[in-house]
Amino acid sequence: MAIKERMSGNEAVSYAIRQINPDVMPAFPITPSTEIPQMVSTYIANGEIETEFIPVESEHSSMSAAIGAEAAGARSLTATSSAGLALMWEELLLAASNRLPIVLALVNRTLSGPININCDHSDSMGARDTGWIQIYAENNQEAYDNFIQAYPIAEHTSVHLPVMICQDGFITSHAVENIELMEDSLVKKFVGIYNPEEFLLNPDKPISVGPYSISNYAMEAKKNQEIALENSKAVILEVAKKFKKISGREYGLFEEYRTKDADYIMLIMGSAAGTAKQAVDEMRARGKKVGVLKLRVFRPFPAEEIANALKGCKVVAIMDRCESYNGNGGPLGSEVTSALFCNKIMIDTVNYIYGLAGRDFTVDETKTVFGELEDMVVNGRVPEQYKYIGLRK
């Protein structure tokens, strides 16, 4: 029986953590993710869970402590945002390369400067090549559901990689919305008990973690890590399938919303996808063939699947809530166009940068984007490949 509740995205993730009752949580506070360690430490203080909470002096330390705990054989997690994730940078790579299935609750916030506390994806996008699996949520429900699926993905024997569960700072983290929760027992059973195959505190099978590797072998270790990331795609889908059985809610690598016969598709991640779906419904009611592809899993990047999903449309708007400063667009813009090219799907694309540092993204702006795509096709204009939407005039 689903439990109908209302809570914010941060409450939802904290609730999932309570239900999972992980072993160790080191954390250092940073807006807008601070509520997560705060709420979890309340659960611990109330005796509701046995998680060991480690207050640390920085995010570099929180990820270091999570790495140590996970290597020792403890199911570990932390939460952070923005500069906190940036400070973890070195450790993020260690977590992934040491194949430690840590889960990180990331509440997306921009990076300085200017100093700003609001949402964009520049923190997680900056960590996109650290070897972590990255899963994004549209709303509090998805943040909750994704978090519950995180450990079964991370700890799977063919994966052994850390997972970042991302949600949009303030937009979902601090917004109270309806949510369907699952019973504690159901969540516990789904996530299961952590039985690491190899861990430091196992006297019967001594191992070393994080040793030096000479060039004769280091490249193979890196390739093995890459194979694990490739493996995770099938595991993410398998876990989603099992999750559907207990929740009724369906998840994939991405969601295709009214795209089947669409001439114009907007590819977007996170909370703005809901806003875009609303615009699609309103435009469909006026006979416009538009749709939304909401990317859920950014790492591993489902290149071939995305290319196939887009092949029937005329133009794609690729929406980046992050600037790459490469002079050509954002990270999704680069990766989606590369996916289309490599799969020989030669359709036009426009890479829009939107919503930086908390700039709002609206239903009307979605319609403007679709209008611009249509104008290109109908009036034969050469598409602009890279532009901003929502800038002050």
Binding site: R6, P32, I117, N118, E138, N139, D168, F170, I171, T172, H174, A175, V176, E177, N178, S271, A272, G274, T275, K277, Q278, G358, D360, F361, T362, V363
Partner: protein, 202 residues
């Protein structure tokens, strides 16, 4: 959004506009609606203008943007009228509710651009009478419930009582005062609405 209403709150940091928006989401949720309650965060400090929002609907709410064409606006601090365009985008058939000791006519003078309904509530006076302190958000919450009709008085009062009993479990002495503040504000606005109906039908 199906049958949805959108509400925008204007207040100053520390007055509880955000809390009131979250409480409204809470109480509307209990009547089985889909809800959203969220603040717009700027530089957070006491006294700075802040905005909070509510969406309440019978259908699923998917939009995650701020609200630009609200059905209702609540102004928790009257001094904002001179610095914030509180009626921006407000629907003509909607209404604005303002915490002020002034009359509707006096407020209408200040909101010349706006031709829709105006309601005034002296939330400070109500709060000081019932709670002995200035917590304007409870009276303003009752006022928006009355004006928007998101639920009837009986449901609202009983849900709020349950909510306060939970929230103030450790200081039950403030529950009665808060309930009184809600009832007073609700009734003041309700009778203003009744007067409007009378003058319309006359």
């Amino acid at each position: 959004m199906n049958n949805g209403i959108e509400i925008r709150w204007h207040g100053r940091g520390g007055q509880g506009a955000k809390t009131a928006a979250l409480l409204l989401a809470d109480v509307a949720f209990k009547t089985g609606r889909s809800v959203q309650g969220f603040p717009e965060y700027g530089p957070e400090r006491m006294g700075a203008p802040i905005t909070a929002y509510n969406r309440i609907s019978d259908g699923k709410i998917r939009v995650h943007s701020n609200i630009y064409t609200p059905d209702y606006v609540v102004v928790v601090d009257e001094t904002l009228l001179s610095s914030v365009d509180v009626t921006a985008g407000l629907k003509r058939n909607g209404a604005i509710i303002i915490n002020t000791p002034k009359s509707r006519e006096e407020i209408a003078e200040k909101l010349k651009e706006y031709s829709g309904r105006i309601y005034t509530v002296d939330a400070r006076k109500i709060s000081e009478e019932t709670l002995g302190k200035n917590f304007p958000n409870s009276p303003m919450l009752a006022a928006i419930v009355a004006v928007s009709g998101v639920m009837d008085r009986k449901t609202f009062i009983s849900e709020m009582k349950a909510s306060y009993q939970h929230k103030f479990a450790k200081k039950p002495e403030v529950i009665d005062g808060n309930m009184k503040a809600l009832e007073m504000a609700y009734d003041i606005v309700w009778s203003a609405m009744e007067d409007d109906k009378m003058s319309l039908s006359a």
